[in-house]
Amino acid sequence: MMEYENQGYDEAHLYASKEEMSSLVLNEDPSPPSNGSKSFSDDPLSSAPPFVEIPTDDADPLHSPSPNEVLPNHSSINSILEPPSYADAIFQSFDSDYIDSAEVNSQDQSLSALSSFSSDYVKICVSDPQKEQEQSGSLVPGVSYYFTYLITTFTNLLEFNGAEFNVRRRFRDVVTLSDRISESYRGLFIPIRPDKSVVESQVMQQNEFVEQRRMALEKYLGKLAMHPVLKRSEELLVFLTVPGKMPLARTTDVSSRMLDGTVRLPKQLFGGESAVGGAAKVSEVAQPAKGGRDLLRIFRELRQSVVNDWGATKPPVIEEDKEFLEKKEKLQDFEQQISNMSQQAESLVKNQHDMGETMGQLGLAFVKLTKFETEEAIYDSQRACAADMKNVATAAVKASRLYRELNAQTVKHLDKFHEYLGLMLAVNNAFSDRTNALLTVQTLLSELSSLNLRIEKLEAASSKIFGGDRSRIRKIEELRETIRVTEEAKNCAVREYEQIKENNKNELERLDRDRHNDFLSMLKGFVVNQAGYAAKIANTWETVAEETSGYAK
């Protein structure tokens, strides 16, 4: 049976957290000492905390609770709703009757099912954003700033030579890390790094943007740390452990720098099959073999791919591996379904949220009505009505909170779909690697054959001249040298291609295993969650149904 970490609420990445904060009603105030919010501790009626903390709110570092935001008059509301009845609404995990062994797997980092406390782990935290001034040497006059983040790593991997590390890095360093890993580990399913997204940073408040980036970085590095191969990579190690300026050289691949940030470019221009639903891996445009890279080579390969595309009605690279092709097709289908799933999951979360919100508003309206009827009561019938209203109001408010909690958990579960959507991008990139590598091999092969052809022609022409043709013979010698180099390059390219094929194969197997486990645990978590909260909501309303059963016809 799988072990899962019970994350609790601390690392909730609530999609709707801000909305939820301001929508309802009865404020989540933790036991007075632990939180800075003043209003409740001053309230004489709340000697016992009337409303129990929903820890999710505390977790959001940017949100300072504004307790008075919604209700005009706390004490009157407190007096309407009985504190003890909220005891039921409080719980930080589900009732044990509903849970088998699987609990919420809220590790954002995991693509595999292994707990981070197993034999080899790397845990990375990103914190403490600091604003720093750009060093001189910029062409732009005036001062510009950037942010650095504290990257803390805990690990027991031997390769790291240490248990804890702290370094400061800026976003640019992460881009470098990502680029270098992409170059070195072609064929693997490499997690996609966070966007540069300049536009958003202009729209958002700066501290919001920085916080979003911090979370995204943590998530990204976590994914790298979960990858069985990448967690041990030289690049990651250096990034995480070497203090001071980042020692990884920025990539010299001109084309990658040019292309980062562009959205979609015509398939024909950039070679190889474009994966379904995504552009070809733009940072890897026609990446030549490790043996040598030059712009000339890049353009030759471009030309080759264009020729391939125009000349053929079939795809330019002929993938012989039937098994691979089958898997690829299946994955394309899978990607579509995941994308659909991701959309529906978001929609479901939104609707659950709305349900909870409206239920809360209804409850609040009845709270006000109850207070009104109680104060103005002249007839006994009014008092009876007020009592009924109070029960309904209490139940509605309780149910609203339960919906809110349900939704927070649902978000964590269904997040899996969004993760896999991201994973599919990595998969497509890995397949592009393969295609590009094959393209390189093909290019080199065709170069070789054209070189050989030229030698043949020259030899034929030269043999006609008695005594040989000095210039031609020299030419032939040069060509033979070129062939030798090209032959080496070709062999290198072939090795590279084989490696990538191997990587693809291993990763596909890993994906199949992980997928099964991930989805199973997600389904269980989702179902347990829904069942648990539904039961609690049912209880809440059953009480009221009983209390009002006298009115039943």
């Binding site: 049976m1 509903y98 088998d100 299946k330 289908d333 899978f334 379904q337 995941i338 659909n340 799933m341 959309q343 529906q344 999951a345 929609s347 479901l348 609707n351 709305d354 349900m355 409206t358 239920m359 508003q361 209804l362 309206a365 006000k368 009505l369 009104f372 103005e376 007839y379 019938s381 009014q382 009876a384 009505c385 009924d388 209203m389 309904v392 139940a395 997928r515 099964h516 989805f519 199973l520 389904l523 269980k524 179902v527 829904q530 069942a531 648990g532 539904a534 039961a535 909501i537 049912a538 309303w541 059953e542 009221v544 149904a545 009002t548 059963s549 006298g550 009115y551 039943a552 016809k553």
Partner: protein, 391 residues
């Protein structure tokens, strides 16, 4: 015996009505809905245990207006609103909501000890359609003025002018602190109720939206299951199927919530608005009574002048004076009747409302509890299969 859900239980003399079988009549712009109104009674003046007539919405409006005219002081049961949006006029939901509200309306009248004796009610319940149509077109709606009322308006304007001239500008109002409190209560109650009703309506919508979402979610899960294959794929398919099933339950609960919780709340709001109309009537009656009292006072002054001068106009003036005094008595009585009735009515209203709301709350709680329970059961039923997958 078809008992309306909201009628008080009645003993030996009984009168119950049901409004059923809405049917679309006519075409195009002239189209309307007709209802079958079935009366069951043992009232002697009704000549027979059962009678069926066909009525349309404007007939109900006629009845309401007539009762309002003739039973001042009594809270006339409210009618559902006219539909302002054309395309919903014939939607099944709207028709059902209206039918239910009309049924409640007639039965409330039929169970009110005074209103049930009304001639107009008898007309409404027994007369054939042509007679009904004739009566309807003769009468004008409550907001349209009859010729007599137009005169009254002029008189009102006149007296206002003279008031201003004489330096009295404020409209005449009762200075009864208890009544003031009651009026405030009614006005505030309307606001509170309207807000609750607004959220109740939204809640209905949320149920529908969540239902739709679950349905889409279920479909997507099923498709994903097809990708997976083997036991996990089957688990996905089952999850998808449960989602779709729950979606249907949500839609049902949305309808149930609409008819049994939101509509009663809306009805409550309308009832309060009807009370406001009665409050306005009382204010009118009080004002007329006061104004006439003023007029009488002046008349008395004039009369004394005439007595002193022994004018030949004296006799006529005395006759007019007596007439005015009689009118004054009548208006005073009218006003006092209204006051008495209102006091009784409000107690009755509170009692009835407590019961009505109690029923509505019960329906809300029951519906929500049942929905949640079936959701819990459905989700839980998937767990064994999911367990089986991991082995």
């Amino acid at each position: 015996m078809v008992q309306s859900p909201r009628s008080l239980s009645s003993q030996a003399p009984y009168l119950t009505v049901s409004v059923t079988d809405p049917a679309k009549m006519g075409n195009g712009v002239q189209a309307y809905i007709s209802y079958k109104v079935i009366t069951k009674t043992n009232f002697p003046e009704y000549q027979g245990p059962e009678k069926i007539v066909i009525r349309r919405y404007s007939d109900f409006v006629w009845l309401r207006d007539r009762l309002f005219e003739n039973y001042k002081g009594i809270f006339i049961p409210p009618l559902p609103e006219k539909s302002t949006v054309e395309k919903f006029r014939f939607s099944a939901e709207f028709i059902e909501m209206r039918r239910q509200a009309l049924d409640v309306f007639v039965n409330r009248i039929a169970s009110h000890h005074e209103l049930r004796q009304s001639e107009d009610l008898k007309t409404f319940l027994l007369e054939d359609e042509q007679t009904m149509e004739r009566s309807r077109s003769q009468e004008t709606g409550i907001f349209k003025k009859k010729p007599a009322d137009i005169m009254q308006i002029f008189k009102d304007v006149q007296s206002k002018v003279s008031d201003v001239v004489l330096g009295k500008e404020k409209p005449v109002e009762e200075s009864n602190p208890e009544y003031e409190k009651q009026k405030n209560y009614i006005f505030q109650l309307e606001d509170h109720l309207a807000e609750a009703q607004k959220h109740a309506y939204r809640l209905v919508k949320r149920h529908r939206e969540l239902g739709q979402s679950l349905s889409d979610f279920g479909k997507a899960v099923k498709l994903l299951g097809n990708c997976e294959g083997n036991s996990l794929g089957k688990a996905f398919s089952e999850l998808g199927a449960k989602s779709e099933m729950l979606s249907i339950k949500l839609q049902r609960e949305a309808h149930h919530l609409l008819m049994n919780f939101e509509e009663p709340l809306k009805d409550y709001v309308r009832a309060v608005q009807s009370i406001k109309a009665t409050i306005a009537e009382r204010a009118n009656a009080f004002r007329h009574h006061c104004e006439l009292a003023e007029t009488i006072k002046f008349k008395e002054i004039d009369l004394n002048k005439l007595r002193l001068t022994r004018s030949e106009k004296l006799a006529e003036a005395e006759r007019e004076y007596e007439q005015l005094k009689a009118d004054g008595e009548e208006l005073k009585m009218k006003f006092e009747t209204i006051v008495k009735l209102m006091n009784e009515e409000i107690a009755r209203f509170q009692e009835q409302k407590t019961i009505d709301m109690g029923v509505a709350f019960h329906e809300l709680a029951k519906g929500q509890a049942q929905l949640a329970k079936s959701m819990a059961e459905a989700w839980r039923s998937l767990l064994p299969k999911l367990e089986a997958c991991s082995s």
